[in-house]
Amino acid sequence: MSPLKIKKGSTSHSAYELRPNFSDTEEKHTLAILVENEPGVLARVIGLFSGRGYNIDSLTVAEVDHLGHRSRITIVTTGTPQIINQIKAQLGRIVDVHKVNDLTVEGASVERELALFKVVGSGDQRIEAIRLADIFRANVVDSTLESFVFEITGTSEKIDAFAELMQPLGLQEIARTGVAALSRGAMT
């Protein structure tokens, strides 16, 4: 019997795909990890990635259920399908981890990131900056005579694109939250 290949867009009830394809191509995956909100749980997750040499492209964490004492960690990582499966299995054996979902393979999902941009400039540069911010639907959250702080929400690619455009217009600093993601539709 040959290993099954999970098609993008198909759904699965388990994060542990025990019959992965073993392609050498690196893929980017977004993992949603529901954890017990205990001290040390984030260190445990991060320690797993550093200890076993996995990549973290982006990481966000916050409590999502105060009464249930649960936090949600969203990690964007890159690796071959075998590595991605190892990451999911390794995360799954951490005692404080309740659930691991691979949003990249388990159906469609939405991803958003929030970023703050500090742009310093004057004259035409300033006008161009605010014009581009308008096109990207970024909000001005702070303004002085020589600077703006823009707030922008979107996919990581959109924020990358905005950063590239702002670069020649006096971009000084960026703060990004990292990716937050949820599956589409009624399924949780």
Binding site: M1, P3, R19
Partner: protein
């Protein structure tokens, strides 16, 4: 029932409620309240070790030999950091132990207080789980959960770090049955996949069972079911170092240990098989050799309780996530209900081939002259002790591999060795733990002189508690395995691999008040071993052996199972540049 009591009393109460009868430990400032409680009761025996590493290895030895979790108690700071090697060892070999560490009082945490260390931070990567308990009310539930987590799923070590003020404060004791946990690993395997494996067994022409420590960790039922399955199918069975004893060495279908220093027939069978049934082993690099040449023609099934072990290094065709005993029971039932079929003719041919490989007689050696060969020493030890109620521990190195090759294990839980981490200094304290669990048994630690010296201070412990552990030291005045690799890989430049300034082991034993025996003559070896066995107390047996004996057979680093070295004649240019970087 809830009761008010101090945190220190809760610790002792929870240990009693969990059925603990012995704790290995070493006191210090941050655990004094717990030691005070231990002093005032008689249910739990405390064994004072001479170094915290010894406490953890002793707890491991106790756990491996009894099947119950082992418990160690150490103080904060250096007590906890000294426990780290034992914790890592237990994590690698999936041994259930609970290590309680004292901590500075909560209000001093983070102030670089005396004997303060970030114990949960340091032990996070070397435990299955750990806790810093900051409230006395949470202490009892945490202790009960710790036993649950250490022993269920894939077993492993856990640490509970208890600040001193939490030990002094009064809180409410919670009983185990009142504690809720979400940790509940899957034990039943997927029936569809089990059926697929049963079908594969029916048609396999060259099948082999490859078993590991998971069978032993799963409990005696798993070993029993394994024996039944092997007997019913007639398939050959090999095992990793960690799995020795789950199938008896005297069993009809036993083809010996596999791996880097495994038997020729076992490794050849692994390489040539068409169906590999991995039960509770993890395709460790000591087992697989060169990955791209690992058993190229086989379908592989893998039964494991840990999803992260499956498809980690070797791609398998039939992954079965579950506990060995549960899956073996289902597998046996499915295979029986389908008519107990195997391809008898093909399997007969397969056995014919295996018997041809056996003729190579890869463990043969010649005992000549007046110098004891280490293999001969172990052969005699086996012959003279196999009828006893015997438990064997080892240190790490050549002697460990020879012990695995030349001693026979008939039952699980009789073989305590540091497999995954390869911890020199493991065996002696482990033998103390084993003897505590089995006071009347013959407990032997097969050691090298260098490994044994790493935790020699525990001779004091053995004396204090009158534990008659036999230290069978194969003394070649070398770090034998290091020396062997330097011979094969580093142009015979023996950099720091000899044991200089060795003690006189007989006088050392006498200094501690017990018996030392030295033997260098093959003709007097039997008498000396008998003297060791019959002496009522710990014995240091200094067995002077051939200094330059190498351990064979051997799969050199970076080679495949069918490229084994069988003896010194094979070793020239055996390891090429690619393999030299591997360990």
């Amino acid at each position: 029932m809830t009761k008010a009591m101090t945190g220190a009393k809760m610790v002792v109460q929870a240990l009693i409620d969990q059925g603990v009868d012995v704790v290995f430990g070493y006191p210090g400032g941050a655990v004094l309240p717990i030691y005070d409680e231990i002093f005032q009761q008689n249910s739990i025996k405390h064994v004072l070790v001479r170094h915290e590493q010894g406490a953890v290895h002793a707890a491991e030895g106790y756990a491996r030999s009894t099947g119950k979790p082992g418990v160690a108690l150490v103080t904060s700071g250096p007590g906890a950091t000294n426990a780290v090697t034992g914790l890592t060892d237990a994590l690698m070999d999936s041994i259930p132990i609970i290590v309680l560490t004292g901590q500075v009082p909560t209000f001093m945490i983070g102030s670089d207080a005396f004997q303060e260390a970030d114990t949960v931070g340091i032990t996070r990567p070397c435990t299955k789980h750990n806790w810093l308990v900051k409230e006395t009310d949470k202490l009892a539930p945490t202790l009960h959960e710790a036993f649950h987590i250490a022993t269920s799923g894939r077993p492993g070590p856990v640490v509970i770090d208890i600040p001193k003020d939490v030990q002094f404060a009064t809180g409410t004791y919670t009983e185990a049955r009142q504690v809720e946990t979400h940790y509940n690993p899957q034990v039943k395997g997927d029936m569809e996949m089990i059926t697929e494996l049963a079908k594969a067994m029916e048609t396999a022409k060259k099948p082999v069972f490859y078993t590991g420590g998971g069978v032993i960790n799963s409990g005696p039922a798993a070993s029993q079911l394994l024996r039944e399955l092997v007997a019913a199918t007639g398939f050959p069975i090999t095992s990793t170092l960690m799995g020795l004893g789950s199938y008896p060495a005297s069993g009809d279908n036993w083809i010996g240990m596999l791996g880097m220093h495994g038997l020729y027939e076992a490794n050849m069978a692994m390489h040539d098989c068409d169906l590999m049934i991995n039960i509770g082993a993890r395709f460790d690099d000591r087992i697989t050799g060169r990955l791209d040449a690992f058993s190229p023609g086989s379908k592989k099934a893998h039964i494991d309780i840990d999803a992260s072990s499956i498809n980690k290094v070797i791609k398998v065709d039939m992954p079965i996530l579950g506990d060995c005993a549960h899956v073996l029971e289902d597998l046996l039932n499915v295979w029986k209900s389908r008519g107990r079929k195997t391809d008898k003719e093909a399997v007969g041919q397969w056995w014919h081939q295996i018997n041809d490989w056996r003729k190579v007689d890869c463990l043969s050696f010649k005992q000549e002259g007046k110098i004891i060969k280490p293999q001969y020493a172990l052969q005699r030890l086996e012959e003279l002790t196999k009828k006893h109620d015997r438990y064997i521990c080892t240190e790490v190195g050549q002697h460990q591999m020879w012990a695995a090759q030349y001693l026979g294990f008939e039952d699980p839980n009789r073989w305590m060795t540091s497999g995954g981490l390869g911890t020199m200094g493991y065996g002696f304290p482990a033998s103390i733990g084993v003897q505590m669990g089995h006071p009347d048994a013959l407990v032997i630690n097969v050691a090298g002189e260098a490994s044994w010296l790493m935790n020699m201070q525990e001779l004091g412990t053995a004396m204090q508690y009158n534990l008659p552990v036999k230290q069978f030291i194969l003394n070649n005045e070398r770090l034998g395995m290091v020396r062997q690799w330097q011979e094969l890989l580093h142009g015979e430049r023996y950099s720091s691999s000899w044991s200089e300034s060795l003690p006189d082991f007989v006088k050392l034993a006498e200094a501690f008040g017990t018996k030392g025996i030295q033997c260098h003559d093959p003709d007097t070896l039997d008498d000396a071993i008998m003297e060791m066995i019959t002496y009522d107390g710990p014995v240091l047996f200094d067995c002077l052996v051939e200094k330059h004996e190498n351990c064979f057979p051997m799969i050199p680093s970076g080679k495949a199972h069918n490229e084994m070295l069988l003896g010194d004649a094979d070793t020239s240019n055996a390891i090429q540049a690619g393999g030299a970087v591997l360990v």
